[in-house]
Symmetry: C2
Subunit: 496 residues, 2 copies
Amino acid sequence: MATPSLPSAKVIHVDTRGAVILSEESPETRDSRGIYLPNYIEPVSHIAVDVGGSLAKVVYFTRSPEPPSSPSIIATRGSSTASGISTPRSLSPSEDTSNTAPLSSSAPSTGTRANGALTPLVLDAQSSLGTGNGNGLSGLHTELLRDSVLRRTVQHFPGGSLNFERFETDCIHECVEFIQELIERSAQVNGVSIEGMRKGVKIMATGGGAHKFYELFQDQLQVEVRREDEMECLIEGLKFITLIPDEAYYFSDELIQSVAHPQLHSVHGVLERPSPDPPKFSVSFETNPTPQLPCLLVNIGSGVSIIKVDEDGRFERVSGTSLGGGTLWGLLSLLTPARTFDEMLDLSERGDNSKVDMLVGDIYGQDYSKLGLKSTMIASTFGKVFKKGGEKKHFSPEDISKSLLYAVSNNIGQIAYMNAEKYNLDRIYFGGCFIRGSNDVFLAGHAATIATLSYAIRFWSKGTKRALFLRHEGFLGSIGAWIRNIDHEGELNTTQ
Amino acid sequence: MATPSLPSAKVIHVDTRGAVILSEESPETRDSRGIYLPNYIEPVSHIAVDVGGSLAKVVYFTRSPEPPSSPSIIATRGSSTASGISTPRSLSPSEDTSNTAPLSSSAPSTGTRANGALTPLVLDAQSSLGTGNGNGLSGLHTELLRDSVLRRTVQHFPGGSLNFERFETDCIHECVEFIQELIERSAQVNGVSIEGMRKGVKIMATGGGAHKFYELFQDQLQVEVRREDEMECLIEGLKFITLIPDEAYYFSDELIQSVAHPQLHSVHGVLERPSPDPPKFSVSFETNPTPQLPCLLVNIGSGVSIIKVDEDGRFERVSGTSLGGGTLWGLLSLLTPARTFDEMLDLSERGDNSKVDMLVGDIYGQDYSKLGLKSTMIASTFGKVFKKGGEKKHFSPEDISKSLLYAVSNNIGQIAYMNAEKYNLDRIYFGGCFIRGSNDVFLAGHAATIATLSYAIRFWSKGTKRALFLRHEGFLGSIGAWIRNIDHEGELNTTQ
């Protein structure tokens, strides 16, 4: 399979053939679904952590020799006990026949996050001294068979799942505890000492917090911590994730309800101007993805980075804006009673921005048709709020949320479009945690953001450029850190 | 003098030779100073009104045959009684010898706004039936001399002042009253009937409110009201105002206090990144202005319009953003106790945005030097405000104001720069009422906005593009409406 080459002409060692995104278990796992990689072999277990301004994202791989019978089982329980394959009881003390209990008696405080254990092949040397293994290859494993020939065979049994977890950066200790418990549980499952397990595990840290929390990770986890450049990880993650079938999606050219809303499409195919209620297009998935370079990557977290990626994988941070997710969350936390991001999104869905925004019609009393400005177009976000004399009127949290969610999204879309145009790039990937909503993206929740970004690109580019979104939008950096590590291993192997 | 040609190859009939900006009387008149035009002859009096979303701007011309002995006298008293030229007592019933009383006994409620009367030459036919005139040509005027020969001579006595007034759009009746009183007073000063005066006056209305308030103006003022296209007026105003000496200004290449702050300039001349506290450059005025086309005009009112102006005067609204003055004023009116824009500016001057903004250093613990991102750079505006769990912390109005003033200004600068780059324009004029501050621009007040816009353009263009500002920044549209009317007259004259 043709994978795009690395900047330095290295080869990505993750085999994505046959990759499957595991089913969604709950709204909260929307962008945390596992990805099953039937052809990937992991030599060393790497736990990748991307610590951003607001969220810390964790990615790690758990082995499983057969594809999941039901992807949803994998997603819930972790790959090492999936597919109904029995493992020696000694490895999973508390495991019951229904396979639903935690793998380890030292169940982590994070509860549902105990999905799987690390089973790096390099542990085989250690685990041969122990009482079991975590390869999940039922029927093959007895102590008698543990010779080097078999170990080499086992090493080439591929398959397993990539797992995704997310923590608040303000509660970084929860992230550290999660990794600690993962390592402890994995030692138990693999039947090796905690010291042995620590030698088979590495932390790949990226994001701003990789520097800030470097010593915390190293001291608390007592494993090797490597720092990876944030931008390089982002791009590596993008290159990987866009090869996973059904990962990327976009708004197709087909309007939803075009019959019910015939006014959305003019007879000449002219697009109406962007607004908080853009035309609704249907969603398409990239089922047979091809390499997606060159492209523009717009990473929206607390702030926004805009990165140009060339066809050969070289990249440059060409722009950005400080008006990102943090701006919206911060403003709405002061201006509304909402206490969570989801509450803010809920508010915005019920809002009417025209109560706070000044529309073209409010100024002109009509369209400004000479300039093609419709009366419903927003001339000034929040333009109705400030009154002479300082009268402090009351505005509803719903209307405020709708206005600001649209304003921030549209501003990002505008700056992204201008950069795509400047660098002549037709594919614009939007990633980062701002995109994420609790609910399924096409039905509710953060659909407003996606629709706004998508329509803004469609409108300004006259349909020549496409906004693309990713199911694992928040994990590009952590996936990239995980891959870069793999790559380093591959590099080591080839130079040995 | 070479003036740029109009889009339709018309000629501007306003003679700007010898133009002088009159002295400032008080902080509140900063962008309302009169402009003395010694060589301009006005055939008909035109009161131009530009009604925007927040402010209504009025421009009109009052004749004065000699240049002001002291510009400040003109600015205070209006041109028709300036220069110590005595006028017949019968024309100004309440005038006293110190020349400081209002021109008319029907002193307008707007008090200090009673600066001058309209004296259109077309009134001469009417005023010959009356008892006096307002030409202010002392010693020449007696009823005996009122023959057609003299009238033609008088018609070619040039000189007078352009006057500027500003009202809140929400209080549009104040604007209408002001114009009504101006017409009534002018009738009295010219010694003609109010009906006669109304025939010698036209209202040139532009801006969104020209449509919305068209009937209000027509019904209340009982004069002809013409509507002019907003964008065409803006450009016309820009072309005119940039020919006035000392009108346009910019930040020169010389740093203020570069000795006191040597760190502001690196040894290699690399500019530090934009921030709320950019390096302070000294101000230069365009004392000998040359035609300034092509250029980009960024008009910042409640919202923002970005207009590309070609060398031949053709223009196109190429971009804009709804994040403008209305957004900042609206947000700050909800988030701070400030009741006026000036109070908001005052707050922002005392604020520390790093209390609410997430800086690169907050995320990375250091610079992200590989990308050239300094630790003090704002990664996320308001990024420190939202906390997990919805804890509502208190943030100071000062810090909030500083953060948002910078964010809105910088965002406009960024979008403006990208458009200037796209269209390869080196001159970027910033106009509109957002720029305005109460205090002298170089000392305090809205200096932050100007410094932010100026430095953003300097930084992103690596010094190749220049941000230019205007003393009459808020009056481009109304000046343009006034000029377009003049032009129509000129056109009529040439086709007669």
